[in-house]
């Protein structure tokens, strides 16, 4: 051990130095307090033996300075005392000393004290390390969450929440929010709006929000009515989320030409309609939340409500109702209903509720995500608000063909290359996500069911799913013949934009696609409630045409962009 001995008496110094050196310690000597501090600063010994009475700087003063220099690190200081009075001994501890030993003493006693202090030191050191580690982890976690949140914000909050007919409050108890509000205009006019509340809070709840937002915006921008969006979201969430996670949601479709609003409420507190003349009515939850049962069981149908200019809808998550004050009382439905019904100025309702919630909660911490949305009905709102069309890329006429053979199938992933080619040659960066989905579905169908002849009914159960992928791996490794060919053809469309035709052919046996189209639609609807069979309904949502050719081993999908 490295030990500093500070003593103004030569005999005391030499005696300690010899005794400690004999035991294998490295010893530094100081003749007064100031020298003790200087040597400590340079040499950073692990233990200090300190004489109390020394010239220039006393042992007490030197100890104080040494403890300051040591900072978080524990460096024991033991006072070596002669005939000090009791108050002097107390002073040894007051100035930061850890122990004292009275002269004359035996080396056995000193060694015992050193051992005891060493135990304290190592305990302190490991605690210190652990604290530092914990702090670093925490910082890391916060940092990661912040980065992830930026990604989340960009995906989830990209719609037209600020279009002018909506006011909202979103506050969350974690960085991530289990609540979401999505709003987007349909190309032919009108608006789709979704207010949702995932079970749970924070990151696990927020994860599901990303695909929900993606699907909502993609389908709405393609003009799908809310009822189709809700059914698709329900199926996706059933497939994707663990059983215990689901999405309570209100789907709202605004038809600003006809004066009609459609509402679907699955698991959200009463939605309140306040008419322009101050009458209120509630639209209660009459459905299960999304992601619990298949869409046929769920019965997705919107309740139509006739509205006129100035009518307003209020939807909010249970965090609003269940907010508690200092005596544990809930904010409750009655309070919020009264705030909406009795507001003198309808424009102030959201601000009033926000203020009321803050006052009610007082200094208490929030315990759930709180989200509130107001939608005001303004006739011909979306048509008046023609979005400035982004400049479309020029459409060219071009084609390409890829062929992937058995030996390459297990190792080559052509998807990134295909997407890159199409987005770069034709400038379709805006549609990258949808193109990726289309290529991925077509390609995996060709490989799995065509070349590998996998039976997708295996995927009907959770265990089967794992089994399916193991079997797929095995067949892929053993593959000796087979191919997948991908042909791309692109041409401009007379009405603007272009059409990308993707033809995928595989070496498989194909299947009988000559069934009644009504039948196959029914089939795919049935299948879409199982764990498998997602590909085709998803594709038909994204593509304008899908057609099987040959013996069912060729499929042609047309994607129109504009």
């Amino acid at each position: 051990m490295r030990i500093l001995v500070a003593d103004d008496e030569l005999t005391g110094r030499l005696m300690l130095e010899r005794a400690l050196a004999r035991e294998g310690h490295e010893v530094f000597l100081a003749v007064n307090g100031r020298e003790a501090v200087e040597i400590f600063d340079q040499e950073r010994p692990e233990l200090v033996l300190m004489d109390a009475q020394m010239p220039v700087l006393t042992g007490y003063e030197a100890t104080q300075k040494i403890k300051e220099l040591a900072g978080d690190e524990f460096v024991p200081v033991v006072f070596v005392t002669g005939n000090e009075s009791e108050p002097d001994l107390v002073r040894c501890v007051d100035c930061g000393g850890d122990d004292f030993i009275t002269k004359p003493f035996s080396m056995v006693i000193l060694r015992a004290k050193m051992d005891a202090l060493e135990r304290v030191r190592s305990l302190q050191a490991s605690l210190h390390d652990r604290n530092r580690e914990l702090h670093a982890h925490r910082q890391n976690l916060i940092h990661e969450q912040e980065v992830a949140q930026r990604v989340f914000e960009r995906i989830v909050h990209t719609g037209d929440l600020d279009a002018g007919n909506m006011q909202y409050l979103i506050s969350s108890m974690a960085i991530f929010n289990g609540d979401l509000i999505l709003a987007a205009r349909r190309p032919e006019g009108g608006q789709n709006i979704l207010l949702g509340d995932f079970t749970g809070h924070g990151l696990p709840a927020a994860i599901g929000a990303i695909p929900v937002a993606r699907t909502f915006y993609a389908m709405t921008s393609r003009g799908f009515p809310m009822v189709r969006v809700l059914a698709e979201l329900n199926d996706q969430l059933c497939e994707m989320l663990p059983t215990e996670v689901f999405l309570a949601a209100v789907g709202i479709e605004v038809d600003d030409q006809e004066g009609r609003i459609g509402i679907w409420n699955g698991g959200i507190p009463d939605v309140i309609l306040r008419t322009v003349d101050g009458q209120c009515r509630a639209i209660g939850s009459s459905h299960l939340p999304l992601g619990l049962v298949g869409s046929t069981t769920l019965r997705v149908a919107l309740e139509p409500i006739d509205v006129q200019e100035g009518d307003r809808l209020y939807a909010f998550t249970d965090g609003v109702i269940e907010m508690k004050n200092e005596v544990g009382e809930q904010f409750g439905e009655k309070r919020i209903f009264e705030l909406i019904a009795n507001a003198a100025d309808a424009d102030q309702v959201v601000t009033d509720i926000d203020r009321a919630l803050i006052d009610f909660r007082g200094d208490l911490e929030q315990s759930d995500d709180v989200t509130l949305l107001e939608v005001k009905y303004i006739p011909h709102f979306t048509t008046a608000l023609q979005p400035e069309k982004p400049k479309l890329p020029d459409a060219f006429c071009w084609g390409a063909e890829f062929s992937i053979r058995a030996e390459s199938l297990p190792v080559l992933d052509p998807l990134p290359h295909l997407v890159k080619l199409v987005t770069e040659v034709q400038g379709l960066g805006m549609w990258r996500q949808q193109l990726h989905t289309i290529f991925a579905e077509l390609y995996s169908n060709a490989v799995d069911h065509g070349v590998l002849r996998m039976d997708s009914s295996l995927k009907a159960s959770a265990e089967g799913f794992a089994q399916y992928y193991m079997e797929r791996e095995a067949r892929l490794r053993a593959l000796s013949e087979g191919y997948v060919k991908i042909r791309l053809h692109h041409e401009p469309r007379p009405e603007g934009g272009g059409r990308l035709t993707i033809e995928v052919e595989d070496s498989g046996e194909g299947f009988d696609y000559s069934r009644d189209p009504e039948d196959s639609r029914e089939e795919s609807r049935r299948e879409s409630q199982l764990l498998h069979g997602r590909g085709i309904p998803l594709l038909s949502n994204l593509c304008s045409e899908i057609e099987y050719l040959g013996r069912g081993n060729r499929v042609r999908a047309c994607y129109d962009w504009a």
């Binding site: 509340d197 995932f198 079970t199 749970g200 059983t243 215990e244 996670v245 689901f246 309570a248 699955g266 698991g267 959200i268 507190p269 209660g284 939850s285 009459s286 459905h287 299960l288 939340p289 619990l292 049962v293 249970d318 809930q330 759930d368």
Partner: protein
């Protein structure tokens, strides 16, 4: 104990009595309580539950899946009015028998 599990003498019914807050904090206990049960009928007694949040709804759905999904027989009994309101908003009476 915030959660008690009682199996009936004939082994056919498992009753789970929840006390206090029924929320995410109960996740491990709740799942462990029925994990090895092969009861045909389940009863969730909420007489002494003070509060139920959406995580608890998730736990109920997990139990339903364990008990056979659409073929399950699960009764939620002794709901306080607050808890009944939450179950009603979520339309859980369509998945469980609530009384």
């Amino acid at each position: 104990m915030p959660l008690q599990a009682q199996t009936s003498d004939d082994g056919k019914t498992l009753t789970l009595v929840v006390e206090g807050r029924f929320d995410f904090g109960m996740y491990d206990d709740f799942r462990a309580a029925y994990a090895h049960s092969s009861a045909a009928h389940y009863v969730i007694d909420l007489a002494r539950a003070e509060y139920l949040d959406s995580s608890a709804l998730g736990l109920l759905v997990l139990l339903r899946e364990h008990a056979g999904g659409d073929d399950s027989s699960i009764e939620i009994i002794n709901c306080t009015s607050d808890i009944r309101r939450i179950l009603t908003i979520a339309n859980f009476h369509r998945l469980f028998s609530v009384s």
